[in-house]
């Protein structure tokens, strides 16, 4: 019994100090494997469920209640998220980014399931959304919880979250490089080897898991496209067009989100209204419903080419349907709809240039559709590398790489000029919570007021004379003194020795002045929970070098510019070291 207890204690100690017994990089790589397997399984499960559900629930025109289907899906999805799993409805990826930047990658275990089921309801009933964002949440939650189980520290937990994200994207698209690039470019924002290696391992494991279970299928069949210089030049126009579509999609999404919140306070009403609108759009254009991969497949293989006018209409319909689905609280991602819209834009552009310059032998519409997809992903997510690698991998074709790079980087740049924050970042940016690693804002946000608080300062009573004050500073190392009423403990202000030098050198004033008259009594007060960015603003404006920290009407210490900078440097060093 005793020995059993000892062994248990030893095991617990090993887990608690895992990183001392083994090399950190090695351990992270090792743990990338289970995270990869679980992430892969989660995406296979969702993929299979969507297929199963679509075979059971054929969303088709023939059904009389057709237009109500997306509304039912939205209701189920919202019910599942808020009532069953008690999570906030809506965008899932910003939730993961927020957790990575502000909570050390902490995510609830139930998130690994909630968004998967919610998204299944949305897509099966015809909502215009993609399965990628929910799988990303699921994968990251798995990574986070495996890290928590083994007492990982925040930094290591974030790497595990990255592993889960890469695993999810790799498995769902059968695209390992895109998984790695998405996790690092979009979510973590930090290209460091400590991140990259475990994430790569997780990505490989997840892709292979998915291949074992579903076979090594390329989502969209590879076709050989012949591309000449004219096609590459024509891509410049396509880049502009997809950028317009990307901005339109992002802006509509936010508009619908804000407007629906104003119109309907009840989340179910909001979702049902959105779903009903989607149903109505789907009545005219059934191509915009669901994840839309079938449509993409048909377009790339040049099997589906509606006339230009209808194509344009489809683009607007898909943008509206996606905004109405995701903006009203249903679970789902913007990834797949962006691909579909990009595909439509590419095809429309191809038809347009063919009509304008019929003499030139343009490459096929399917090729422009591919380029449109890459441009759209790059524009909507502000992630050109993700766009490039994803399209190369999911189409299995490398010969389109030149125009692909061109469209992706241009679309990302043009979109960024009109919309500084992507759909994933905008919400966080508005709240001032988008703090990318190794940036000034992140370092300042990490330092808490209590980290640099100078406590135990000798207080002065307000009525102390200058003579007494001079005697006091003779024997004190303090450069500033709080003036506090001894009876009420009320803070009156700060006396800064360097600000009162002129009085100190005039002995004739020693009995004529009390400290209350020479103290700095500005209204700027810092609370222990304040953001250091705000504190730095006060310092930068040059009003003062020292600020009082007040906690519930009680003076607890001061924060000085010098202390902030000393801690800032140390923080910079430790954050850059990894």
């Amino acid at each position: 019994m005793n020995s059993a207890k000892r062994i248990l204690r030893l095991i617990r100690r090993i887990f608690e100090n895992l990183f001392l017994f083994f090399d950190e990089h090695f351990l992270l790589i090792l743990f990338g494997i289970p995270v990869g397997i679980c992430g892969g399984l989660a995406s296979v499960a969702l993929n299979r469920s969507i297929h199963l559900a679509s075979s059971l629930l054929p969303v088709s025109h023939s059904h009389g209640l057709f237009i109500f289907f997306p509304a039912i899906g939205a209701l189920l999805s919202i019910f599942c998220l808020s009532a069953v799993f008690r999570e906030s409805a809506g965008h899932a990826v910003p939730l993961v980014i927020h957790s990575v930047t502000r909570k050390g990658g902490l995510l609830q275990l139930r998130s690994s399931l909630s968004h998967l089921i919610g998204c299944l309801c949305t897509i099966s009933f015809g909502g215009s959304a993609g399965p990628e964002a929910p799988v990303v949440v699921s994968g990251s939650s798995i990574g986070s919880n495996i890290a928590r189980l083994f007492h990982f520290k925040e930094r290591q937990r974030i790497v595990m979250v990255g592993c889960g994200i890469a695993a999810a994207i790799s498995a769902i698209f059968n695209a390992p490089i895109a998984g790695i690039v998405f996790a690092v470019e979009v979510i973590l924002g930090e290209w460091a080897s400590v991140n990259l290696v475990p994430i790569a391992i997780a990505s490989v494991v997840a892709t292979q898991t998915s291949r074992i279970l579903q076979g090594n299928q390329i989502p969209f069949d590879h076709r050989v496209f012949i591309i000449d210089t004219m096609d590459i030049i024509a891509c410049l126009g396509l880049a502009v067009l997809v950028s317009v579509a990307a901005v339109l999609l992002s802006k509509t999404l936010f508009y619908v989100e804000h407007a629906s919140k104003r119109l309907f306070r009840n989340i179910y009403m909001r979702g049902a209204a959105g779903g009903l609108c989607v149903g109505c759009i789907g009545w005219f254009a059934p191509d915009v419903l669901g994840e839309g991969y079938e449509t993409i497949r048909a377009i790339i293989e040049d099997l589906y080419a509606p006339p230009l006018l209808f194509m344009t209409l489809l683009i607007f319909c898909k943008i509206a349907a996606t905004s109405l689905t995701l903006g009203t609280g249903s679970a789902g991602g913007v990834f797949a709809p962006a691909l579909v819209i990009g595909c439509f834009v590419g095809l429309a552009y191809s038809e347009m240039i063919n009509a304008l310059w019929p003499a030139n032998a343009w490459t096929s519409g399917g090729c422009f559709a591919l380029l449109g997809m890459a441009g759209m992903i790059s524009g909507v997510l502000h992630a050109p590398l993700t766009g490039i690698f994803l399209i190369v991998e999911i189409t299995g074709g490398y010969e389109v790489i030149l125009p692909l790079i061109l469209v992706s980087v241009l679309a990302s740049t043009i979109t960024r000029a009109y919309m500084p924050a992507s759909v994933y970042y905008r919400e966080l940016m508005e709240r001032g919570q988008l703090l990318r690693p190794r940036t000034d804002a992140r370092i300042l946000a990490d330092i808490a007021i209590l980290d640099i608080l100078k406590e135990d300062l000798e207080p002065l009573p307000p009525e102390m004379t200058l003579r007494e004050f001079v005697n006091r500073i003779k024997n004190s190392p303090q450069s500033h003194f709080p003036v506090i009423d001894p009876e009420t403990e009320k803070f009156h202000g700060l006396v800064l020795v360097d600000m009162v030098q002129s009085y100190l050198l005039s002995p004739e004033l020693y009995d004529a002045i009390v400290v209350e008259e020479i103290m700095e009594s500005s209204d700027i007060r810092i609370s222990p929970n304040d953001n250091l960015l705000r504190v730095m603003d006060h310092f930068e404006q040059g009003r003062t070098e020292v600020l009082p920290v007040i906690d519930r009407d009680r003076f607890i210490g001061t924060v000085s510019k010098a202390d902030v900078l000393a801690q800032y440097r140390k923080e910079l060093i430790v954050q850059m070291a990894h």
């Binding site: 925040e154 808490a448 608080l453």
Partner: protein, 234 residues
């Protein structure tokens, strides 16, 4: 892994050595940016490991750093320093270098003090400007504290055989020199302040001119110092 108990330090000590608050250190531990170990729920650091980490990260290790302004004015006593330095009479010489040379060769100093170096430093200081305070008094001292040899301050009281011109402000010839050797600048300034206070005392200079014996002089200085502390406390 080192198991030596001496190498283990707790959170507070580690924070002190790294020059950050315990609050900030706790956050670093949570984030996993700093190497530490848990022992029965308590965070412990291995001192050599932490020191190596700090040096590899360019973070100043503040083990030897003393808290600022740790000089306790009560702890510095001019009378005590004078007792330690000793009292010497009838020092001969006609000019500064000779007098200083005679003083340095006469007085008792800790063995570690390099007398030649001390003399060189004293002369250097006098060349900069005279250390004569006026009223026939001078306080020769090195410009910067000697690197080794002096643990506690020494003030050697040296009465001259005959007053000598010392380039003082008031032009009066010097009859007594207080040679000051301090472990650091702060203590030196404290001693100087105390001597200054003594000199402001009426009759102190006349008392000195009588070349009092060591006990009488110490008693007088102690009295003045007590008065000074009383005035400060008020």
């Amino acid at each position: 892994m080192p198991r030596n108990a001496d190498h283990r330090i707790d959170l507070g000590e580690a924070a002190h050595f790294l020059g950050i608050t315990p609050h900030a250190l706790e956050r670093w531990i949570r984030q996993g940016t700093i190497p530490c170990r848990q022992s029965d729920g308590e965070i412990v650091f291995s001192k050599p490991q932490l020191k190596a980490w700090a040096s590899s990260h360019n973070i100043n290790w503040q083990e030897d750093a003393k808290p600022p302004a740790s000089v306790d004015p009560q702890a510095v006593s001019l009378a005590g320093a004078m007792m330690a330095g000793g009292f010497y009479h009838n020092i001969i010489g006609n000019d500064k270098p000779v007098i200083l040379k005679n003083i340095v060769s006469t007085i008792h100093l800790p063995e570690e003090v390099d007398r030649e170096l001390l003399l060189k430093r004293l002369i250097e200081r006098e060349q900069l400007s005279s250390t004569g305070l006026g009223h026939g008094i001078a306080v020769p001292h090195p410009r910067t504290p000697l690197k080794s040899g002096v643990e506690s301050p020494i003030v050697s009281t040296c009465f001259l055989d005959a007053p000598v011109d010392y380039d003082t402000i008031d032009g009066k010839p010097v009859f007594v020199l207080f040679l000051m050797v301090s472990p650091n600048t702060k203590v030196h300034l404290q001693l100087l302040a105390r001597l200054g206070f003594c000199l402001r005392d009426d009759g102190f200079i006349d008392f000195l001119r009588k070349q009092p014996d060591s006990d009488a002089l110490c008693r007088r200085v102690e009295q003045v110092e007590k008065r000074m502390e009383k005035a400060r406390g008020a």
